[in-house]
Symmetry: C2
Subunit: 222 residues, 2 copies
DNA sequence: TGTTGTGAAGGCGTTCACAGCC
DNA sequence: GGCTGTGAACGCCTTCACAACA
């Protein structure tokens, strides 16, 4: 399979195509055009075709794409045709939300270990998983062969958490703490910062207001 | 104040500069160069200067930026110099995580109303806020003058939730449900999809593995 | 006629590099 | 010497537009 280096934005769109194809299959559709797919994803049809073309040719001219086949192709391209075991560090509200999010499990992401430093949480069970003390992280993550770690600790504990994960051999880390983390270059790090989402929206709203005021104050002719 | 149309990525960086300046102020620093700021943010110094230049000239050649002053400038630019009341639709785990995230409150985001359709949740209190039935959404959001809505419902309920928020007069919506939402053009919509973060990371890990295998199979000379 | 696949063109964000100022 | 502010160059992602095919 082709494994090109592609933009983050492209991967994000592929994920949404993958989800839409799942829905289309449930609706009983056999074929879909790039135009239809684009409409549901909120992008242009040329964008859909270009995105797919990085990985091969999946459509048939004049007809479109076979829903089931394209769904499976994308599943394999995105690496969702297998199980991804994850270790969760921090057992607070964000961790709980991630753990409970059914969508993940359906796509192959399983939280198989949870760690915290709070002695009151250690020993509690979330479903089949018992929360363990962070002391146990390295041996447990090694034993389970987990390669994907999720940091959901307070900011001050995040660097230590990721250091332990790396020491235990994970190769990918998703960071939900609002702090820049240092990892060796071979480890893939992705940051998710929900505060930035709120702040970006605040900027847009404030900017729109300011522009509105300005337009009213100095009306444009025409 | 200048209110240019800038890229999303620029706003995200401004948010991180803002946070870093807060830390620098706490550390007691008076001045900071674009190079230092850039290092802590994980970008280039030219990027920092360019980002700031969209809004004015804040530095002094040969010296750098005044930490406290730049912090306040960014605070105003990002619209964080005031209170943002938010309405939360859906009172599940994601909502609970957002509600509990202290960082938001410190930056002026307050959840002043929470809605759900689950009768068992209605009437419960989170801090000072009582969960109300979604039936009460429009009058309550109107009464409180809330302009920022957060959709944290299951996917199937998300469009209805956002329709109610829009009917009640919100001008900005943050959507945590994995579903494309339709809103009128004057309403600002931002989507946050945590599944995409996991899937993007899975792509990177799988791609790195595939490239690794390939490199070992066909070793490069040198 | 309808639709894909893809080089070429376009647009936009980032980086460069240096004049200008401390 | 140190550092900012910024036009110009660069590179990358998106859009265009059309040949190829059903």
């Amino acid at each position: 399979m082709r494994v090109p280096r592609i933009a983050d934005s492209t991967v994000a769109r592929l994920c949404s195509y993958h989800r839409i194809l799942e829905e289309l299959a449930q609706e009983g559709r056999r074929l879909v055009s790039s135009r239809r797919l684009a409409e549901r994803a909120g992008v242009t049809s040329a964008q859909v075709r270009k995105d797919l073309s990085y990985f091969g040719t999946f459509g048939r001219r004049g007809l479109g794409y076979h829903v089931q086949r394209l769904h499976e192709e994308l599943r394999a391209i995105l690496g969702l045709d297998r199980r991804w075991d994850c270790a969760l560090v921090g057992a607070g509200h964000i961790a709980r939300a991630l753990y409970s999010y059914q969508d993940f499990r359906r796509r192959g992401f399983h939280f198989v270990a949870i760690f915290d430093t709070n002695e009151e949480l250690v020993g509690q069970r979330w479903g089949e998983v018992e929360i363990q003390h962070v002391r146990r992280l390295v041996p447990e993550v090694r034993r389970l062969g987990v390669r994907l770690g999720v940091v959901a600790t307070p900011a001050r504990a995040a660097q230590e958490a990721v250091d332990l994960l790396v020491a235990a051999g994970v190769t990918g880390v998703l960071n939900f703490a609002p702090r820049k983390l240092n990892v060796p270059p071979e480890v893939h790090l992705r940051n998710v910062n929900m505060a930035i989402e709120f702040e970006s929206l605040a900027y847009s709203l404030r900017a729109a207001e300011a522009r509105g005021r300005r337009r009213r104050a100095v009306p444009v002719e025409e």
